[in-house]
Symmetry: C2
Subunit: 248 residues, 2 copies
């Protein structure tokens, strides 16, 4: 399966991912032909340009889907958390590389062709695959909205909210950031220093509370949603400046 796997063993890739409510259907269909792999930190799960022979599902840990731009800068296109599917491609090759972020990240890999053949006769599986694809689209769109924001503080604020939503283990106001400042920077398209400054800025304005470097408590969701950087420390009133909405 994947490139340089460490410990690979065939198993029923069931019942260990902590998130997601509707995973029941897929597991009973897919579990039998899954191969689970355990990965080291920064180990590549699949190469960019490699033949796309597998679809993957993240079981535990964190992974990043990224590419290196011609100017040498790395860009993280997608952040994979437990339950997320990846490895889809419109062409025969993977369009991005996927790397494990934390030590011991485990992924389940499914032979693409066999899965597609199975889906031909199993409508339930086909719908499941469609749904997982739509989830991937939703992730990409959320990421697009973040990248489209203007100031760095807005991006960091949106990122924190997205992480709070995706990692919600019941209460959605406490997050343990799954990636480093450097990864956040490459995920948001800003520099590491700016990530750091934005975080401390949000802290000083009382919108978040930092416990160590990874643990974040969200104090003011609404203000975080539209934190526009030039807001004063005591936000007085919400400013809505509508724009003339150009057409064509």
């Amino acid at each position: 399966m994947a490139t340089n796997a460490c410990s690979t063993h065939v198993t029923s890739a069931n019942r260990q991912h902590p998130v997601g409510a509707n995973q029941q259907r897929s597991l009973e269909s897919l579990g039998s032909l899954a191969v689970t792999t355990r990965c080291h930190r920064s180990q590549e799960i699949c190469h960019q340009g490699q033949a796309a022979e597998y679809w993957y599902r993240l079981i535990s840990g964190v992974a990043r889907r990224c590419t290196v731009r011609p100017d040498g800068r790395r860009q993280i296109v997608d952040l994979l958390l437990p339950g997320d599917f990846f490895g889809f491609s419109a062409v025969d090759e993977y369009d991005f590389a996927v790397e494990a972020v934390v030590e011991g990240t485990t992924v389940a890999s499914y032979p693409r062709r066999r899965l597609e053949t199975l889906a031909d006769t199993d409508p339930r599986l086909a719908r499941e695959i469609r749904k997982l694809t739509f989830d991937a689209i939703a992730r990409l769109q959320a990421q697009l909205l973040i990248l489209g924001r203007m100031t760095a503080v807005e991006k960091v604020g949106s990122f924190l909210l997205e992480m709070a939503d995706r990692l919600s283990d019941g209460h959605t106001d406490r997050v343990v950031l799954p990636i480093s400042r450097y990864d956040i920077a490459d995920y948001l398209g800003i520099s590491v220093e700016t990530v750091s400054r934005s975080m401390t800025g949000l802290k000083h304005r009382g919108l978040i509370v930092l416990v160590g470097t990874r643990r974040v408590r969200i104090v003011d969701r609404d203000a975080l949603e539209e934190a526009d950087g030039n807001a004063e420390i005591p936000v007085p009133l919400p400013i809505h400046k509508a724009r003339p909405c150009y057409v064509s």
Copy 2:
């Protein structure tokens, strides 16, 4: 079907879209239950938050999928060209609004539930839908790569190349931009003035030739790909500055 359609008529939505090579399979299956709609400029094809009861395919013209951010700014997340599918959503509601860009844009709409039921027994159709979904993912990823670029000139350059690829009618060095400068600005996340300045900058550096405002001829593809803004007018040699590639 869609919100305030102008001229709607049931028809075989076949044989009129100019692009795409592999549309044969889908048409024979989908054509029968498609409803074709003709739209005015800036007319909404589907609302954000509306019940997602249809999947759409752009037949002719151009459409934009966009949202309005809390700060009043519009963001275009996807540009629909003839042959493109849209209207997918992971939830029951459309996550973005879609508007026709040019007068007379026509879309074919397919009842989602009926299509899914059909796909349950028609593996060919199911695979077709999967492929179209993957194409949508590819569009979003390309857009992510553009938004992730640093300088405005890089974004505009990548945009021109993307348009040249997607609108290629044989030779890929001439493009007729399908949208206005304002739309380009909201698509790239930069201001209109910066779009204009970037275009004239690329023109003066000899990378493109402008004929009017919409017609563009691409002179130097490679330089356009990695135009990093601070490059001198006569680009002397390609500079590759690798970065220490931080992990986790």
